[in-house]
């Protein structure tokens, strides 16, 4: 009925279409799995249930809360309303300090306890992660 050329072109276009749809589906699905939400200590306090997804917590490192031993560092993140204990064993950025902003990435154990596997580096003395800034301004 149709010429060979038309058939070939139709085949090509449909193949392209299928692969485009497939890749969009793949990208979206993978995105859903790998998105990390950002939360403040107050938001965590108000959580109805704790799931085991990776999250980020931002706030200030509470004064006199950093404790170090050979395996781990523990400290408290506060947004001046609520606090959360963080336990971390990994490399710390240079500007990790008491009374300074911090963003920790990891998993919640319960509402008061967070196990971090990454602390995000700041590269500037005056720079504050926008998340922290907002969390602090919202207080």
């Amino acid at each position: 009925m149709y010429g060979k050329k038309v058939k070939l072109r139709a085949l090509f276009i449909s193949l392209l279409l299928v692969s485009v749809i497939l890749s969009i589906f793949l990208v979206l699905k993978s995105l859903e799995e790998n998105v990390i939400y950002f939360q403040s200590p107050t938001e965590i306090r108000n959580l109805s249930e704790i799931d085991n997804k990776k999250i980020r917590i931002g706030g200030m490192v509470k004064d006199h809360s950093i404790l170090i031993n050979p395996d781990k560092i523990t400290f408290v993140i506060t947004d001046f309303k609520n606090e959360i204990n963080v336990s971390y064993s990994g490399a710390v950025p240079n500007l990790f300090e008491e009374g300074k902003g911090v963003v920790a990435e990891g998993f919640l154990k319960d509402r008061n306890f967070f196990i971090a596997d990454k602390i995000l580096a700041k590269h500037d003395e005056n720079y504050m992660p926008p998340e922290v800034k907002e969390a602090l301004e919202g207080k």
């Binding site: 070939l8 995105l31 998105v35 990390i36 980020r56 395996d71 240079n94």
Partner: protein
């Protein structure tokens, strides 16, 4: 003082030259001949000279620490070493824009000089479109970010350059990267000019290819330098982190890589013309979007300079104007020629088209991962980030067909190839590669079909490209070198990923830390006074798994202005692997936080990137030799 004034006024005069150019060009367009009015060249040359003068003035202001200049005040300091005073010129927003402007004009000047055989109107229109971009940059510079703002009273001391930027790799990283980014502006302008002149043909493609390769080369090297810097200066201890700013440089790179391939099809077979145009326009748009996202402070990252919303809006408007012009020209003025040539399923064209499909897929993944968080924040006010697993999961599986295609594609013929699937040599080599990869993996106790096939196909490409070097007929030498470099790059990245190990611990001076296969002994700490920082050097004695003793001396630098600590990793590089040790200080504690990493084949990642990039250069030199 004097130099700031001189710099400022030469910028304004250079802008006036842009305006003068328009009537001159208009007059010249009416004259039917094939030589551009020499006055036009003179005007562009004068413009180049003035902007260069302005740039030199800024450099001199930095060298003299002239704090009456606001930019110098914000980013320099008298105790800074001379080298970083100079590199500080482009280590900030205003200076880097001035450098961009300089490169924009330099490139169009070079374009005019090297395109004498091209049709006159096409050259003039390229100049016109480039001047639109140049005027945009001029206005942006003069209105929102003048590098020569005057400060009174004159401060006695500057605020200093961010210490993490005080590094040799980062001193040359921005100029090289800009050469890549801005190189794509010529591709953009000349594509638009070619559309208006109905000059989208193989001759055009042949000449434009050089520009594509030049900007691709610089972009590759620029990205690599940034990556090396992040490796040792930020203490991240790796080569790629899917940081938004890294992604933003990767996107135009992927687009340019696709363009290099599609433009060859246009050159040799007069096919894929529209697609090539779309890629040319997209490459530049992506470069500009990168500038917008980084400069406006939407993406917070290492590169975020002082944010000013006004700047963001300006770039956004500018970007929209450029995109609108491009879309208008593409959809309204472009008259595609009917592509009469026959296509067959098995040909070089098809394999290049497939390559482009893969590139576009890689590009979309990176784009989605980078833009989605911004999008969600604006739409739903939710803050998220996308982690590295997103990229690795989506990109790595597709590397397998991509690698195999890279081996088969270049060996197919144009137009029609009776590709023989029962080619003994190819099949045998593939089996050997898979077997070898299986053996390697078994040796280290890892198994899995996926990794076997992945390493196998990388090895396959490696062998095929090596064999191709010994084929007498050395056409496409640059393609062979680049593909060889790519196979080496993929191999080293995979092996690096598999064999890397790291140990993180908190340790006091004089203590020893034992780990599974060795130990780290923190011997001592020394302080040194340097020109603008205090250096704290720790000495660590490390016993490795094979009982070898090595000393690593990571350093902390406490800068005076601005007050900031940076850590310099100590890296022992060898042929097979890097030993990497970085030390961090937690204030008010005796403990030092250390990270010790074994990173195999690190040097091969840098080397193979250089090989990959040099494939582009060979293209120029090889022609000359012939």
């Amino acid at each position: 003082m004097l130099f700031s004034q001189l710099g400022y006024y030469s910028l304004i005069f250079a802008l006036i030259f842009s305006v003068i150019l328009i009537p001159t060009v208009h007059r010249d367009l009416k004259i039917v001949n094939n030589v551009i009015n020499p006055n036009i060249l003179t005007v562009v040359f004068l413009q180049l000279f003035l902007v260069l003068l302005s740039f030199i003035c800024l450099v001199i202001s930095f060298i003299n620490s002239d704090f009456s200049n606001e930019t110098v005040y914000n980013h320099s300091h008298t105790t800074k070493p001379l080298f970083y005073k100079i590199s500080g010129t482009w280590g900030n927003h205003e200076g880097s824009l001035l450098l961009c402007l300089l490169i924009l004009i330099l490139f169009i000047f070079i374009f005019l000089l090297t395109s004498k055989k091209e049709p006159k109107k096409y050259r003039i229109f390229t100049l016109l479109f480039q001047q639109i971009i140049i005027i945009g940059f001029f206005l942006f510079l003069l209105i929102t970010s003048n590098p020569f703002n005057y400060l009174f009273p004159i401060p006695t001391e500057g605020l200093g350059l961010n210490p993490i930027l005080q590094d040799p790799a980062l001193a040359i990283h921005p100029p090289i990267l800009y050469l890549g980014y801005i190189g794509s502006s010529i591709i953009f302008s000349s594509s638009l000019a070619a559309i208006t002149q109905n000059y989208v043909n193989n001759k055009w493609a042949k000449n434009l290819k050089n520009w594509v390769i030049v900007s691709w080369f610089f972009l590759t090297i620029g990205i690599m330098l940034g990556s090396i810097w992040a490796y040792y200066e930020l203490g991240w201890g790796g080569f790629w982190f899917w940081d938004p700013v890294e992604n933003i440089s990767l996107m135009p790179w992927l687009c340019l890589t696709a363009l290099i391939h599609s433009i060859i099809v246009l050159e040799k077979r007069s096919l894929l013309a529209s697609w090539t145009l779309i890629l040319s326009i997209t490459s530049f748009t992506l470069s500009m979007c990168g500038t917008f996202l980084v400069r406006s402070g939407i993406l917070n990252s290492v590169h975020t300079f002082a944010n000013d919303p006004k700047r963001g809006i300006f770039i956004l408007i500018f970007l929209f104007v450029l995109i609108l012009i491009a879309l208008f020209i593409f959809f309204v003025l472009y008259k595609p020629k009917k592509e009469q040539q026959k296509n067959f399923l098995f040909s070089k064209e098809t394999s290049i088209l497939l390559n482009n499909c893969f590139m576009m897929y890689f590009l979309s993944v990176v784009l989605v991962g980078t833009v989605y968080p911004i999008f969600l924040e604006v739409i739903a006010d939710e803050k998220i980030s996308v982690g590295p697993p997103f990229y690795t999961k989506l990109l790595i599986p597709f590397l397998i067909p991509f690698l195999i295609l890279m081996t088969i594609g270049p060996n197919t013929k144009w137009i029609k190839d009776n590709f023989n699937f029962i080619n003994v040599r190819l099949i045998l080599l593939f089996i050997i590669s898979i077997l070898l990869s299986y053996l390697i993996l078994r040796e280290i106790g890892l198994r899995g079909l996926f990794s076997t096939v992945l390493i196998g196909s990388a090895l396959y490409l490696f062998f095929i490209t090596v064999m191709d070097f010994f084929v007498k007929n050395q056409i496409n030498l640059s393609q062979k070198i680049s593909h060889f470099g790519f196979s080496l790059l993929v191999l080293s990245i995979i092996l690096n990923g598999i064999f890397s190990s790291e140990i993180i611990t908190n340790i006091k001076v004089g203590e020893k830390y034992d780990f599974k296969r060795g130990s780290i002994y923190f011997e001592k700490i020394n302080n040194f006074e340097k020109q603008n920082y205090i250096s704290i050097v720790g000495t660590f004695r490390i016993y490795d798994d094979n009982g070898k003793e090595i000393y690593l001396k990571p350093e902390l630098r406490i800068f005076n202005q601005p007050k900031m600590i940076t850590s310099e990793a100590d890296i022992k590089t060898s042929f097979y692997s890097d030993k990497f040790l970085v030390m961090n200080l937690v204030k008010g504690n005796d403990f030092y936080n250390i990270k010790y990493q074994t990173k195999p084949f690190m040097i091969w990642i840098w080397l193979s990137t250089i090989i990959l990039a040099s494939g582009g250069l060979v293209n120029f030199f090889y022609k000359k030799i012939k």
